[in-house]
């Protein structure tokens, strides 16, 4: 089990870093860390790996405090963004290297390296040098090398960002399959929220060095902690509004009927509606609640879906739909509406205390 326990780290002379972050990754679990650049997600990985030492808090691996332990003693497999295969060693020698430094006999380490390569589908390329391998193949070898010594955890630092789109999806499944088979705790750092949502058991959202939310992908998508998170994870319609009355919210697109439970009348809220939950109509649907008409401002064809921005009053509603007909109106089912506390209302909390 990988455990960051209330960890803080500040880069010398800079205000960035991470503050009071706690994350636990259980054996067999894959936790993805997402966030904008500079949010501290890579710092988290470096703290776990041992390339950085926390200024406060503890790094605990399998119950042992390893905060002061150098990387080579932590027994964690790391897959780097640049793969980092040694150019002077062949594929199998690269995979055998962690066994060599662990003094495994030559015969056994060759066998285990070849076995690990077979498990990532690279058994037939074991004698190739890194330069003769494509990006995806190099990444497979790097994955085999990070797992061959049965590490206590697997850390993946933007492992797919250098690959092209199709290969990225393929490798995503491959990483998940290999990680599941090995049954070890894995932490994936990525800036690609779709990648995080698709393979992680839980997703941690970092912002300005803080852990904003950690939740299973569906929960994160349906119930983001705040406006920023909703904006970062998936596409979202986000409108500032106020609770007009119980069950009614006033927004720039008009008044919406929805569940206002937990918010007092007059309270400022942010209204979240996912584009795929907006129902598109040819014209105004008089029977539906939260029904609006507007002018199509943008209409993009994305293959399986269409993304439309409909100008309604002073704002616009983004719609994701599969229909290819003309669109003149929309309706928003009340259960597709989620109210969030505005982000700037949450942040000052700490200063008050």
């Amino acid at each position: 089990m990988l455990h960051l326990d209330n960890v803080s780290f500040l880069y010398p002379g800079a205000s960035v870093g991470v503050r009071d972050v706690s994350i636990e990754v259980k054996p067999g679990e894959l936790v993805a860390v997402i966030g904008a650049s500079g949010s501290g997600k890579t710092t988290l990985l470096n703290l776990l790996a041992g390339f950085l030492t926390p200024s406060r808090g503890r790094v605990v691996i399998d119950g042992n405090d390893v905060s002061a332990m150098p990387p080579e003693k932590r027994n964690l497999g790391i897959v780097f963004q640049s793969y980092g295969l040694f150019p002077h060693l062949r594929a199998w020698e690269n995979v055998a290297y962690p066994l060599k430094v662990r003094k495994v006999p030559a015969e056994e380490r060759r066998e285990r390296a070849l076995d690990a390569l077979r498990r990532v589908g690279m058994g037939n390329r074991s004698n190739n040098g890194p330069r003769e391998l494509s990006g995806g193949q190099q990444q497979r070898v790097a994955l085999a090398r990070a797992l061959v010594f049965e590490p206590r955890g697997l850390l993946l630092d933007e492992p797919l960002s250098a690959l092209d789109a199709n290969l990225r999806v393929e490798m995503r499944d491959e990483i998940l399959r290999v990680q599941r088979a090995a049954g070890i705790a894995a932490l994936l750092v990525t800036h690609d929220q779709e990648e995080a949502l698709s393979i992680a058991d839980r997703v941690a959202v970092m912002r300005d060095g803080r852990l904003v939310q950690i939740a299973p992908p569906r929960e994160l998508y349906d119930a983001p902690a705040d406006e920023e998170t909703a904006r970062f994870v998936g596409e979202a319609n986000l409108w500032n509004g106020t609770v007009a009355a119980q069950g009614r919210v006033r927004t720039p697109v008009g008044e919406l009927a929805c569940d206002t439970h937990g918010y007092a009348t007059g309270a400022p809220v942010v209204v979240l509606v996912r584009p795929e939950n907006v129902l598109a109509h040819g014209s105004r649907d008089g029977d539906a609640v939260n029904s609006f008409t507007g002018v199509v401002a943008a209409d993009r064809f994305l293959g399986s879906t269409r993304r439309i921005d409909l100008s309604v009053q002073d704002a616009s509603i983004r719609i994701q739909t599969r229909t290819r007909d003309a669109i003149g109106g929309v309706s928003i089912p009340p259960d597709a509406i989620r109210l969030l506390t505005p982000t700037n209302k949450i942040q000052p909390q700490e200063e008050i205390i």
């Binding site: 003693k73 497999g77 040694f86 430094v101 010594f149």
Partner: protein, 259 residues
Amino acid sequence: MRLVTVLYLIFLAAPIFLLLVGSFGEVWSNTLLPQGFTWRWYSEIVNDPSFVRAFMTSLQVMVATCVLNVLVGLPLAYAIHSAAHRGVRFAARLAALMPVAAPELVLAFGFILVFSSDTLPWLGSIWLLVAAHLVLTLPYSVTTLLADMEQIQLGEYEAVASSLGANFFQRARDVVVPLLGTSLTSALLTVAALSIGEFQISNLISGFLSRTYPVTLLQAFYGATGFACAATVVLLVLAALASVASSLTARATSGGRAS
């Protein structure tokens, strides 16, 4: 454009060509090219004990300088490369490059001043010569190695190796040295060529029995033209051999890397 190149090459090659011709010429006075053909000058050199000794001294100094460049230059470059603080890196780099900026005459005077004293009476010894050559050549090897370390992003490979469980010595043996093989060889090529051709400092600090080849060569210039030419050709061949040998090793290293 092509004409300019050809002219430039002729300009470069002409002195070497004339040296070669002159070294086999019997008489060379008041004519464009020497007259007659003879091996005499070369046999005179081979039979001249002071030239033979100087030749051997130069080889010894060169080999020792190369070895010391590996033993001192590589760790020095590594230390500069991995120094965390930018200011430290800059200062170290500046200090390492200093001997290039200082005129050799100044360095030689410093050596004479320090090593002719009673406490350190080493002026004229071969080891002092090696030390002087090391000071002169170290900047070249350190700069070459540093550039390569940055270019191949050695730090990343080291991070990878340490994540795989390699400690400092294992990383040095398995990653740092093999990855720097090519640039180390090319650095040593420069070092060897510099050491063999070095005249200024060697002339000032070498003793009577520890003269290097270029220092002895100066004496030849006062004698017969053919002898001087032949003696210079020997130096030229020596330098050329050093570079050929080094580039062959460089190719072997990079070839080994690709296979």
